[in-house]
Symmetry: C2
Subunit: 415 residues, 2 copies
């Protein structure tokens, strides 16, 4: 089963938006054993869309298309589909009712002709009802290829994929199992890891593929395999994971995919019934956001202080002004006092505090750009670490957030 994903929209080609739909669709397909061989983004132009549909129809069994289904004149996907499939548009009563209901209960404004026109669909298409918007999804079989068209609005597309597209694909096609095991590591670079596991990698069975995914301060190792015998596949891939653990167990912090470090830490805290609070200066709320983006954070996350201005460190976190004057606001003593302040304010078992200068210019301190102090408060002590993370603002911020989570996890595991 080879799938192609086509995302349509000038906004992608001029870089005005980041295409997040492709990644979501690819992940959902991968879970049910459909292999994505190519993804393409093209402009809202009839000729480009026709060419992409033609290429995909010759090279893929399943073609998933998003975008170009809106009510405005720049949206041309539906008409281009009709041209490609030699079809015409007819009004679909169920879709019209869905649009009328959406307007009645949610939009609460009168329907316009353009909204009504959203109910027009190609006669050969099976409608996939869109719960969250007026543009319906469509399912169309042509020769041996299934074409699926979905709106480009991410949450509408996601609901359609989950509720309509995936169940239909599961029914329509026999698929192999695709398995991945991803190991999250920190502390070593990819070439260093590769050298450590070289012999093991050279002896990997041909049916198992290894990939290295480096990002700031972390490397993910992904093992992939596919086939029809789930039990054998699992046994084979898991025995390689066990061998890897023996070789580099000291730098692995997590196993499952979709498991960012903040979730690993959250699970640890919830299991222990312990709580966390944060005091962030230059990271500006990013650590709090990481912990609260997923549901269930109220079970362990008490809250945080974003003490961006120096005065707020003193006024809100009760950092002693004398410390700031003596050591400057970017210093180990201030980081430690911030962690202590947060621990007291929120009565939390663990705290993270950050103070640093991410650049591009120096701030309230003379510390060089890239200088970062991170404190981890535990029920027993406060540990403070100093880092120099270079002069690339975005990189300093991301590396610092990652490093803070890594340090916190290590302390929790010690206790």
């Amino acid at each position: 089963m080879r799938a192609h994903i086509i995302t349509i929209g000038d906004e992608i080609l001029i870089g005005q938006i980041i295409d997040t739909n492709t990644s979501f669709i690819a992940k959902e397909l991968d879970k049910i054993g459909v292999e994505v061989k190519k993804t393409t983004s093209i402009p809202d132009e009839k000729e480009e869309i026709l060419e992409a549909l033609d290429f995909a129809s010759k090279n893929a069994d399943i073609v998933l298309v998003t975008g170009g289904l809106g009510p405005t004149k720049d949206d041309v996907t539906k008409h281009t589909f009709c041209e490609f499939f030699n079809d015409t548009l007819v009004e679909n009563k169920d879709v019209l009712k869905n649009i009328e209901d959406l307007f009645k209960h949610h939009v609460k404004k009168p329907m316009l002709p353009a909204n009504k026109a959203q109910a027009l669909v190609p006669t050969k298409a099976t409608v996939l009802m869109n719960k969250y918007g007026t543009a319906p999804g469509m399912w169309l079989k042509y020769d041996e290829t299934v074409f699926i068209s979905m709106p480009g609005v991410p949450f509408e597309m996601k609901a359609l994929m989950t509720d309509e597209v995936i169940p239909r694909l599961q029914k329509e096609f026999n698929r192999p199992f695709i398995l991945h095991r991803t190991l999250h590591t920190y502390g070593k670079g990819e070439s260093e890891i590769a050298a450590t596991i070289e012999e093991w990698e050279n002896n990997l069975p041909k049916t198992i593929k290894l990939a290295y995914l480096p990002s700031l301060g972390k490397v993910r190792l992904r093992l992939s395999t596919k086939g029809n015998d789930l039990k054998n596949l699992e046994a084979a891939i898991d025995s390689e994971v066990i061998k890897l653990k023996e070789l580099i167990g000291d730098i692995i912090y997590g196993y499952e995919d979709d498991q960012p470090l903040e979730h690993v830490v959250a699970e640890l805290l919830k299991r222990k019934g312990e709580t966390l609070a944060v005091a962030e200066s230059f990271t500006g709320g990013q650590i709090a956001t990481a912990f609260t983006a997923a549901p269930g954070a109220s079970k362990f996350f008490k809250g945080g202080i974003v003490s961006y201005a120096t005065a707020s460190k003193i006024d809100v976190l009760n950092v002693d002004k004398a410390l700031v004057d003596k050591y400057s606001v970017v210093s180990a003593p201030v980081a430690e006092a911030m962690a202590l302040g947060a621990q007291k304010l929120f009565s939390a078992d663990y705290t993270i505090s950050t103070t640093g200068n991410a650049g591009p210019t120096k701030g309230d301190s003379d510390a060089a750009i890239g200088t970062v102090f991170i404190s981890i408060g535990t029920p027993h002590e406060i540990f403070t670490h100093e880092f120099h993370m270079g002069n690339h603002r975005e990189r300093v911020l991301t590396k610092s957030v990652n490093k803070a989570l890594e340090l916190l996890q290590k302390e929790i595991l010690k206790n």
Copy 2:
């Protein structure tokens, strides 16, 4: 000038990462008048890479490739380039020196053979030096097409694009001007806007293209044009912007591209010399993160409280416990008290506070999922607004952050 972008990496095809490189590259090309006609992501497989290079060489003048240049065995781009261009790899002394320097000053670990092999480049390629990593960029002309290969690590690729690729493209090719004007609106849906501006849209010159970009609670309208006479292009597109302002000026909040609402608000505050603090419950630090992600926030952003747990609203923000007991923690009086608490703690001119339930389950309050209260504190008053944002967690969070910024901007503009 037609460009294609090819991103290589299994991690994209299985949905393990979101491809942000394409968007960055496309935007930089657009700025210098290079039109991206297609972007493609393909796996780390020789055959797929060869096919994509072949297709691009026939359809594009410039082909930009990222990924597959790492030191590990899963990276095959360089060898595949050699096959496609009928070339061989040789060690490049400058690249080797760059790698040695990086190891000496930054990695501070011994170099491994795999790192040294990064200095091998195709003989026909011009090296583009990578300041931040060991994999060099490459520039290769073949028939009439320029091929550019860059590492997939985003900050390495970005530096190469900015410092090496863009200046070389500007020197090598005559390019037209591509102009965009993007208007940010809030408060009306795309079909409603389309109906309001229908006559104007029907009379738009053929050389100017209009696109609607809806996202939660906001619609961006983008006008695009291209040609060789910059002055005439600017006059033509700007006269259409003026006409649009007359038609929908009441819902426009910003003009430039790359200008998220938080930057518009930041500029307003800096110009007035006024300050902001936030008190976030269910938004969990996202508003603080929005304001502090860009440099210069210390000029107006005093800080914030993420009072996720109910107790922290009482303990840290001094919300009266009686209010929580009487109205529940998701209520207008609590939102107001939070805004007041933040204003006092941080001595800020303006404050935003949020309390609500984003789901998927009910929390410390009986309020229905999707119920949101946002308060805006100004130097004179506090205004509180109630919203019902549906039951999609991610959507409730994003809509609430957008709505809070919109409400704040309106209050600042009144004062």
